[in-house]
Symmetry: C2
Subunit: 225 residues, 2 copies
Amino acid sequence: MNRVPLEKKVLSENDRIAAELRERFRENNVLVVNLISSPGSGKTSLLEKTLEALPRGERVAVLTGDIQTENDANRLKRFGFPAKQITTGGTCHLDARMIDRHLADWRLEELDLLFIENVGNLVCPSSYDLGEAAKIVLLSVTEGEDKPLKYPSIFFKSELLVITKTDLLPYVPFDINKAEENARKVHPGMEIVRVSSTAGNGLKEWLQWLEGKKKAVHEKAESLV
Amino acid sequence: MNRVPLEKKVLSENDRIAAELRERFRENNVLVVNLISSPGSGKTSLLEKTLEALPRGERVAVLTGDIQTENDANRLKRFGFPAKQITTGGTCHLDARMIDRHLADWRLEELDLLFIENVGNLVCPSSYDLGEAAKIVLLSVTEGEDKPLKYPSIFFKSELLVITKTDLLPYVPFDINKAEENARKVHPGMEIVRVSSTAGNGLKEWLQWLEGKKKAVHEKAESLV
Protein backbone atom coordinates (compact mmCIF):
# COMPACT_ATOMS: atom_id res chain seq x y z
CA MET A 1 0.00 0.00 0.00
CA ASN A 2 1.34 3.37 -0.94
CA ARG A 3 0.86 5.80 1.90
CA VAL A 4 3.59 8.34 1.19
CA PRO A 5 1.94 10.50 -1.49
CA LEU A 6 -1.12 11.17 0.69
CA GLU A 7 1.03 12.13 3.68
CA LYS A 8 3.06 14.38 1.40
CA LYS A 9 -0.10 16.05 0.22
CA VAL A 10 -1.32 16.58 3.81
CA LEU A 11 2.05 18.05 4.77
CA SER A 12 2.35 20.36 1.76
CA GLU A 13 -1.18 21.66 2.37
CA ASN A 14 -0.16 22.26 5.98
CA ASP A 15 2.99 24.07 4.86
CA ARG A 16 0.95 26.34 2.63
CA ILE A 17 -1.36 27.41 5.48
CA ALA A 18 1.60 27.73 7.86
CA ALA A 19 3.35 30.07 5.43
CA GLU A 20 0.27 32.29 5.33
CA LEU A 21 0.09 32.30 9.12
CA ARG A 22 3.79 33.18 9.38
CA GLU A 23 3.25 36.10 7.03
CA ARG A 24 0.31 37.36 9.13
CA PHE A 25 2.31 36.99 12.37
CA ARG A 26 5.17 38.98 10.78
CA GLU A 27 2.87 41.74 9.53
CA ASN A 28 1.40 42.11 13.01
CA ASN A 29 4.71 41.79 14.90
CA VAL A 30 3.56 38.81 16.91
CA LEU A 31 6.19 36.45 18.29
CA VAL A 32 4.73 32.95 18.07
CA VAL A 33 6.37 30.03 19.86
CA ASN A 34 5.33 26.38 19.63
CA LEU A 35 5.95 24.36 22.82
CA ILE A 36 6.44 20.63 22.35
CA SER A 37 7.16 17.81 24.79
CA SER A 38 6.04 14.42 26.09
CA PRO A 39 2.85 14.34 28.13
CA GLY A 40 3.63 15.57 31.62
CA SER A 41 6.95 17.31 30.95
CA GLY A 42 5.56 20.56 32.32
CA LYS A 43 4.41 22.67 29.36
CA THR A 44 1.29 23.93 31.12
CA SER A 45 3.15 24.52 34.41
CA LEU A 46 5.81 26.56 32.63
CA LEU A 47 3.11 28.62 30.91
CA GLU A 48 1.34 29.17 34.24
CA LYS A 49 4.54 30.53 35.78
CA THR A 50 5.21 32.62 32.68
CA LEU A 51 1.75 34.20 32.63
CA GLU A 52 1.96 34.77 36.38
CA ALA A 53 5.24 36.64 35.92
CA LEU A 54 3.95 38.92 33.15
CA PRO A 55 2.36 42.31 33.90
CA ARG A 56 -1.41 42.36 33.28
CA GLY A 57 -0.97 44.83 30.43
CA GLU A 58 1.16 42.45 28.37
CA ARG A 59 -0.37 41.58 25.02
CA VAL A 60 -0.11 37.81 25.32
CA ALA A 61 -2.39 34.92 24.40
CA VAL A 62 -2.29 31.13 24.49
CA LEU A 63 -3.63 28.38 22.24
CA THR A 64 -3.36 25.02 23.93
CA GLY A 65 -3.81 21.69 22.21
CA ASP A 66 -5.13 18.52 23.70
CA ILE A 67 -6.72 15.38 22.34
CA GLN A 68 -9.78 15.39 24.57
CA THR A 69 -10.03 17.76 27.51
CA GLU A 70 -10.33 21.49 28.16
CA ASN A 71 -8.25 21.24 31.35
CA ASP A 72 -5.22 23.16 30.16
CA ALA A 73 -7.10 26.21 28.90
CA ASN A 74 -8.98 26.30 32.20
CA ARG A 75 -5.66 26.24 34.09
CA LEU A 76 -4.31 29.07 31.92
CA LYS A 77 -7.37 31.32 31.84
CA ARG A 78 -6.93 32.12 35.54
CA PHE A 79 -4.18 34.62 34.71
CA GLY A 80 -6.44 36.99 32.83
CA PHE A 81 -4.91 36.59 29.37
CA PRO A 82 -6.86 35.17 26.43
CA ALA A 83 -6.49 31.38 26.33
CA LYS A 84 -8.26 28.97 24.05
CA GLN A 85 -8.35 25.18 23.95
CA ILE A 86 -7.94 23.28 20.70
CA THR A 87 -9.17 19.71 21.08
CA THR A 88 -7.89 17.56 18.26
CA GLY A 89 -10.31 14.67 18.73
CA GLY A 90 -7.73 11.92 18.47
CA THR A 91 -5.01 13.53 16.38
CA CYS A 92 -1.61 13.54 18.08
CA HIS A 93 -0.51 17.03 17.00
CA LEU A 94 -1.82 20.47 16.11
CA ASP A 95 -1.81 21.52 12.47
CA ALA A 96 -1.76 24.93 10.79
CA ARG A 97 -5.44 24.81 9.88
CA MET A 98 -6.44 24.33 13.53
CA ILE A 99 -4.36 27.38 14.47
CA ASP A 100 -5.87 29.41 11.65
CA ARG A 101 -9.41 28.47 12.66
CA HIS A 102 -8.91 29.23 16.36
CA LEU A 103 -7.34 32.61 15.63
CA ALA A 104 -10.34 33.72 13.58
CA ASP A 105 -11.94 35.82 16.32
CA TRP A 106 -8.72 37.20 17.83
CA ARG A 107 -7.15 40.42 16.54
CA LEU A 108 -3.48 39.74 15.86
CA GLU A 109 -2.65 43.45 15.88
CA GLU A 110 -3.51 43.45 19.59
CA LEU A 111 -0.91 40.77 20.41
CA ASP A 112 2.86 40.79 20.89
CA LEU A 113 3.29 37.20 21.95
CA LEU A 114 1.35 34.02 21.24
CA PHE A 115 2.15 30.74 22.95
CA ILE A 116 1.06 27.56 21.25
CA GLU A 117 1.11 24.56 23.56
CA ASN A 118 1.13 21.48 21.36
CA VAL A 119 -0.37 18.07 22.15
CA GLY A 120 1.83 16.05 24.53
CA ASN A 121 3.92 14.05 22.07
CA LEU A 122 7.57 14.03 20.99
CA VAL A 123 6.94 12.58 17.53
CA CYS A 124 3.90 13.80 15.61
CA PRO A 125 4.16 17.58 16.28
CA SER A 126 7.66 17.74 14.83
CA SER A 127 6.41 17.44 11.21
CA TYR A 128 3.73 20.14 11.40
CA ASP A 129 4.79 23.74 10.86
CA LEU A 130 2.32 26.09 12.62
CA GLY A 131 3.83 29.31 11.27
CA GLU A 132 5.72 29.80 14.54
CA ALA A 133 8.94 31.83 14.83
CA ALA A 134 10.45 29.08 16.95
CA LYS A 135 9.74 25.59 18.20
CA ILE A 136 10.69 25.00 21.82
CA VAL A 137 11.16 21.48 23.16
CA LEU A 138 10.80 20.65 26.86
CA LEU A 139 12.46 17.69 28.53
CA SER A 140 11.96 16.92 32.20
CA VAL A 141 14.76 15.53 34.35
CA THR A 142 12.56 12.54 35.13
CA GLU A 143 12.60 11.34 31.51
CA GLY A 144 16.19 10.24 30.97
CA GLU A 145 19.10 11.95 29.27
CA ASP A 146 18.89 9.72 26.17
CA LYS A 147 15.73 11.36 24.81
CA PRO A 148 17.45 13.77 22.35
CA LEU A 149 19.05 10.75 20.66
CA LYS A 150 15.78 8.81 20.59
CA TYR A 151 13.66 11.69 19.26
CA PRO A 152 16.25 13.63 17.22
CA SER A 153 13.81 15.29 14.84
CA ILE A 154 12.15 17.50 17.41
CA PHE A 155 15.45 18.38 19.11
CA PHE A 156 16.96 19.28 15.75
CA LYS A 157 14.03 21.47 14.77
CA SER A 158 13.67 23.30 18.09
CA GLU A 159 15.57 26.50 18.69
CA LEU A 160 15.49 26.16 22.47
CA LEU A 161 15.58 23.23 24.87
CA VAL A 162 13.98 23.85 28.25
CA ILE A 163 15.07 21.25 30.78
CA THR A 164 12.24 21.19 33.32
CA LYS A 165 11.68 19.94 36.88
CA THR A 166 15.32 20.60 37.88
CA ASP A 167 14.15 20.63 41.52
CA LEU A 168 13.89 16.83 41.19
CA LEU A 169 17.56 16.41 40.15
CA PRO A 170 18.66 15.18 43.61
CA TYR A 171 16.15 12.34 43.43
CA VAL A 172 16.55 11.01 39.90
CA PRO A 173 19.37 9.29 38.01
CA PHE A 174 19.54 12.08 35.39
CA ASP A 175 22.89 13.43 34.19
CA ILE A 176 21.97 16.94 33.08
CA ASN A 177 25.32 17.59 31.40
CA LYS A 178 24.98 14.39 29.44
CA ALA A 179 21.44 15.41 28.41
CA GLU A 180 22.72 18.75 27.14
CA GLU A 181 25.60 17.02 25.36
CA ASN A 182 23.12 14.66 23.67
CA ALA A 183 20.91 17.58 22.62
CA ARG A 184 23.89 19.36 21.09
CA LYS A 185 25.00 16.17 19.32
CA VAL A 186 21.70 16.26 17.46
CA HIS A 187 21.55 20.06 17.23
CA PRO A 188 24.97 21.73 17.51
CA GLY A 189 24.84 25.06 19.32
CA MET A 190 21.28 24.48 20.60
CA GLU A 191 20.24 27.03 23.20
CA ILE A 192 19.29 25.51 26.56
CA VAL A 193 17.73 26.81 29.75
CA ARG A 194 17.28 24.83 32.96
CA VAL A 195 14.03 25.53 34.76
CA SER A 196 12.09 24.48 37.82
CA SER A 197 8.55 25.81 37.59
CA THR A 198 7.84 24.82 41.20
CA ALA A 199 11.03 26.26 42.74
CA GLY A 200 11.36 29.15 40.30
CA ASN A 201 14.95 28.49 39.21
CA GLY A 202 15.75 29.49 35.66
CA LEU A 203 12.47 31.30 35.04
CA LYS A 204 14.42 34.55 34.68
CA GLU A 205 16.59 33.07 31.93
CA TRP A 206 13.50 31.69 30.18
CA LEU A 207 11.75 35.08 30.28
CA GLN A 208 14.94 36.77 29.03
CA TRP A 209 15.10 34.35 26.12
CA LEU A 210 11.49 35.20 25.21
CA GLU A 211 12.20 38.93 25.54
CA GLY A 212 15.21 38.60 23.25
CA LYS A 213 13.16 36.77 20.63
CA LYS A 214 10.39 39.36 20.85
CA LYS A 215 12.91 42.14 20.27
CA ALA A 216 14.39 40.30 17.30
CA VAL A 217 10.92 39.95 15.75
CA HIS A 218 10.18 43.64 16.24
CA GLU A 219 13.56 44.79 14.91
CA LYS A 220 13.17 42.59 11.87
CA ALA A 221 9.72 44.07 11.28
CA GLU A 222 11.10 47.63 11.57
CA SER A 223 13.98 46.93 9.22
CA LEU A 224 11.46 45.74 6.65
CA VAL A 225 9.42 48.97 6.80
CA MET B 1 -9.16 15.46 1.33
CA ASN B 2 -10.46 12.09 2.38
CA ARG B 3 -8.01 10.41 4.67
CA VAL B 4 -10.25 8.07 6.60
CA PRO B 5 -10.60 5.17 4.12
CA LEU B 6 -6.83 4.77 3.81
CA GLU B 7 -6.37 4.78 7.59
CA LYS B 8 -9.18 2.24 7.86
CA LYS B 9 -7.45 0.04 5.31
CA VAL B 10 -4.14 0.28 7.16
CA LEU B 11 -5.85 -0.60 10.44
CA SER B 12 -7.85 -3.51 9.05
CA GLU B 13 -4.71 -4.95 7.45
CA ASN B 14 -3.01 -4.56 10.83
CA ASP B 15 -5.92 -6.29 12.57
CA ARG B 16 -5.68 -9.21 10.15
CA ILE B 17 -1.98 -9.78 10.91
CA ALA B 18 -2.57 -9.23 14.64
CA ALA B 19 -5.27 -11.91 14.64
CA GLU B 20 -2.83 -14.38 13.03
CA LEU B 21 -0.19 -13.50 15.62
CA ARG B 22 -2.70 -13.94 18.46
CA GLU B 23 -3.56 -17.38 17.13
CA ARG B 24 0.13 -18.37 16.98
CA PHE B 25 0.76 -17.05 20.50
CA ARG B 26 -2.22 -19.07 21.73
CA GLU B 27 -1.10 -22.27 19.98
CA ASN B 28 2.33 -21.93 21.57
CA ASN B 29 1.09 -20.87 25.04
CA VAL B 30 3.01 -17.60 24.99
CA LEU B 31 1.75 -14.76 27.15
CA VAL B 32 2.38 -11.57 25.19
CA VAL B 33 2.06 -8.15 26.85
CA ASN B 34 2.36 -4.78 25.11
CA LEU B 35 3.84 -2.01 27.30
CA ILE B 36 2.81 1.53 26.41
CA SER B 37 3.63 4.92 27.94
CA SER B 38 5.02 8.40 27.32
CA PRO B 39 8.75 8.66 26.64
CA GLY B 40 10.59 8.39 29.92
CA SER B 41 7.85 6.84 32.04
CA GLY B 42 10.08 3.91 32.88
CA LYS B 43 9.16 1.05 30.52
CA THR B 44 12.76 -0.05 30.00
CA SER B 45 13.61 0.36 33.70
CA LEU B 46 10.66 -1.81 34.70
CA LEU B 47 11.71 -4.45 32.17
CA GLU B 48 15.29 -4.36 33.48
CA LYS B 49 14.06 -5.01 37.03
CA THR B 50 11.69 -7.69 35.78
CA LEU B 51 14.37 -9.57 33.83
CA GLU B 52 16.77 -9.21 36.74
CA ALA B 53 14.20 -10.81 39.06
CA LEU B 54 13.53 -13.80 36.78
CA PRO B 55 15.53 -17.03 37.06
CA ARG B 56 17.90 -17.59 34.12
CA GLY B 57 15.91 -20.62 33.00
CA GLU B 58 12.74 -18.60 32.38
CA ARG B 59 11.56 -18.73 28.80
CA VAL B 60 11.24 -14.98 28.27
CA ALA B 61 12.05 -12.62 25.42
CA VAL B 62 11.68 -8.92 24.64
CA LEU B 63 10.92 -6.94 21.51
CA THR B 64 11.54 -3.26 22.09
CA GLY B 65 10.43 -0.48 19.76
CA ASP B 66 12.11 2.83 19.18
CA ILE B 67 12.11 5.38 16.42
CA GLN B 68 15.85 5.62 15.98
CA THR B 69 18.22 4.00 18.44
CA GLU B 70 19.21 0.52 19.59
CA ASN B 71 19.76 1.72 23.18
CA ASP B 72 16.89 -0.13 24.81
CA ALA B 73 17.72 -3.55 23.39
CA ASN B 74 21.32 -3.05 24.50
CA ARG B 75 20.12 -2.25 28.03
CA LEU B 76 17.92 -5.35 28.06
CA LYS B 77 20.35 -7.84 26.50
CA ARG B 78 22.55 -7.69 29.60
CA PHE B 79 20.21 -10.03 31.45
CA GLY B 80 20.86 -13.00 29.19
CA PHE B 81 17.37 -13.27 27.66
CA PRO B 82 16.73 -12.79 23.94
CA ALA B 83 16.03 -9.11 23.22
CA LYS B 84 15.62 -7.50 19.84
CA GLN B 85 15.27 -3.86 18.83
CA ILE B 86 12.63 -2.76 16.32
CA THR B 87 13.48 0.66 14.93
CA THR B 88 10.45 2.17 13.25
CA GLY B 89 12.31 4.87 11.31
CA GLY B 90 9.96 7.70 12.21
CA THR B 91 6.70 5.91 12.90
CA CYS B 92 5.29 6.62 16.35
CA HIS B 93 4.08 3.09 17.14
CA LEU B 94 4.79 -0.57 16.47
CA ASP B 95 2.47 -2.46 14.15
CA ALA B 96 1.63 -6.15 13.81
CA ARG B 97 3.74 -6.59 10.68
CA MET B 98 6.86 -5.36 12.51
CA ILE B 99 6.21 -7.88 15.28
CA ASP B 100 5.65 -10.67 12.77
CA ARG B 101 8.86 -9.85 10.90
CA HIS B 102 11.01 -9.65 14.03
CA LEU B 103 9.69 -12.94 15.38
CA ALA B 104 10.63 -14.78 12.18
CA ASP B 105 13.86 -16.31 13.57
CA TRP B 106 12.58 -16.96 17.12
CA ARG B 107 10.87 -20.24 18.00
CA LEU B 108 7.64 -19.41 19.80
CA GLU B 109 7.37 -22.92 21.23
CA GLU B 110 10.48 -22.12 23.30
CA LEU B 111 8.84 -19.09 24.96
CA ASP B 112 6.36 -18.64 27.82
CA LEU B 113 6.40 -14.87 28.00
CA LEU B 114 7.09 -12.15 25.44
CA PHE B 115 7.33 -8.50 26.42
CA ILE B 116 6.71 -5.94 23.72
CA GLU B 117 7.94 -2.47 24.68
CA ASN B 118 6.17 -0.02 22.39
CA VAL B 119 7.51 3.33 21.13
CA GLY B 120 7.26 6.05 23.81
CA ASN B 121 3.89 7.60 22.97
CA LEU B 122 0.46 7.69 24.62
CA VAL B 123 -1.49 8.22 21.40
CA CYS B 124 -0.41 6.29 18.31
CA PRO B 125 0.19 2.83 19.86
CA SER B 126 -3.35 2.66 21.20
CA SER B 127 -4.84 1.97 17.73
CA TYR B 128 -2.49 -0.86 16.74
CA ASP B 129 -3.29 -4.37 17.92
CA LEU B 130 -0.09 -6.45 18.09
CA GLY B 131 -1.80 -9.73 18.89
CA GLU B 132 -0.99 -9.27 22.59
CA ALA B 133 -3.00 -10.85 25.40
CA ALA B 134 -2.98 -7.53 27.26
CA LYS B 135 -1.93 -3.94 26.84
CA ILE B 136 -0.29 -2.41 29.91
CA VAL B 137 -0.07 1.35 30.32
CA LEU B 138 2.58 3.00 32.49
CA LEU B 139 2.18 6.42 34.08
CA SER B 140 4.92 7.99 36.16
CA VAL B 141 4.13 10.11 39.21
CA THR B 142 6.02 12.99 37.60
CA GLU B 143 3.47 13.27 34.77
CA GLY B 144 0.35 14.56 36.49
CA GLU B 145 -2.78 12.76 37.63
CA ASP B 146 -4.89 14.16 34.76
CA LYS B 147 -3.28 11.94 32.10
CA PRO B 148 -5.97 9.20 32.07
CA LEU B 149 -8.57 11.87 31.21
CA LYS B 150 -6.35 13.42 28.53
CA TYR B 151 -5.41 10.12 26.87
CA PRO B 152 -8.50 8.01 27.60
CA SER B 153 -8.15 5.61 24.68
CA ILE B 154 -5.00 3.92 25.94
CA PHE B 155 -6.23 3.80 29.55
CA PHE B 156 -9.50 2.27 28.38
CA LYS B 157 -7.77 -0.37 26.26
CA SER B 158 -5.14 -1.38 28.82
CA GLU B 159 -5.85 -4.16 31.26
CA LEU B 160 -3.33 -2.94 33.82
CA LEU B 161 -2.06 0.48 34.88
CA VAL B 162 1.43 0.53 36.36
CA ILE B 163 2.06 3.76 38.26
CA THR B 164 5.84 4.15 38.16
CA LYS B 165 8.52 6.15 40.03
CA THR B 166 6.54 6.10 43.29
CA ASP B 167 9.82 6.84 45.12
CA LEU B 168 9.44 10.41 43.81
CA LEU B 169 5.99 10.90 45.40
CA PRO B 170 7.35 13.03 48.28
CA TYR B 171 8.84 15.51 45.80
CA VAL B 172 6.07 15.96 43.24
CA PRO B 173 2.56 17.43 43.38
CA PHE B 174 0.96 14.14 42.31
CA ASP B 175 -2.20 12.87 43.98
CA ILE B 176 -1.91 9.12 43.43
CA ASN B 177 -5.47 8.40 44.63
CA LYS B 178 -6.81 11.00 42.22
CA ALA B 179 -4.76 9.43 39.39
CA GLU B 180 -6.26 6.03 40.15
CA GLU B 181 -9.73 7.53 40.38
CA ASN B 182 -9.23 9.19 36.97
CA ALA B 183 -8.02 5.91 35.46
CA ARG B 184 -11.10 4.11 36.80
CA LYS B 185 -13.38 6.87 35.51
CA VAL B 186 -12.14 6.03 32.02
CA HIS B 187 -11.85 2.29 32.66
CA PRO B 188 -14.04 1.06 35.53
CA GLY B 189 -12.44 -1.74 37.52
CA MET B 190 -9.02 -1.22 35.92
CA GLU B 191 -6.27 -3.16 37.69
CA ILE B 192 -3.49 -0.97 39.08
CA VAL B 193 -0.08 -1.63 40.61
CA ARG B 194 2.19 1.03 42.12
CA VAL B 195 5.86 0.47 41.42
CA SER B 196 9.23 2.03 42.04
CA SER B 197 11.83 0.36 39.84
CA THR B 198 14.66 2.12 41.68
CA ALA B 199 13.45 1.39 45.25
CA GLY B 200 11.87 -1.96 44.41
CA ASN B 201 8.41 -1.25 45.87
CA GLY B 202 5.56 -2.98 44.12
CA LEU B 203 7.76 -5.18 41.95
CA LYS B 204 6.37 -8.23 43.75
CA GLU B 205 2.78 -7.26 42.89
CA TRP B 206 3.80 -6.62 39.28
CA LEU B 207 5.47 -10.05 39.00
CA GLN B 208 2.43 -11.67 40.63
CA TRP B 209 0.15 -10.00 38.10
CA LEU B 210 2.30 -11.40 35.26
CA GLU B 211 2.35 -14.84 36.86
CA GLY B 212 -1.46 -14.79 37.15
CA LYS B 213 -1.82 -13.85 33.49
CA LYS B 214 0.63 -16.56 32.44
CA LYS B 215 -1.38 -19.15 34.36
CA ALA B 216 -4.62 -17.92 32.80
CA VAL B 217 -3.11 -18.29 29.31
CA HIS B 218 -1.90 -21.82 30.04
CA GLU B 219 -5.16 -22.92 31.62
CA LYS B 220 -7.10 -21.57 28.68
CA ALA B 221 -4.78 -23.46 26.33
CA GLU B 222 -5.27 -26.70 28.28
CA SER B 223 -9.04 -26.34 28.39
CA LEU B 224 -8.97 -26.05 24.60
CA VAL B 225 -7.02 -29.29 24.11
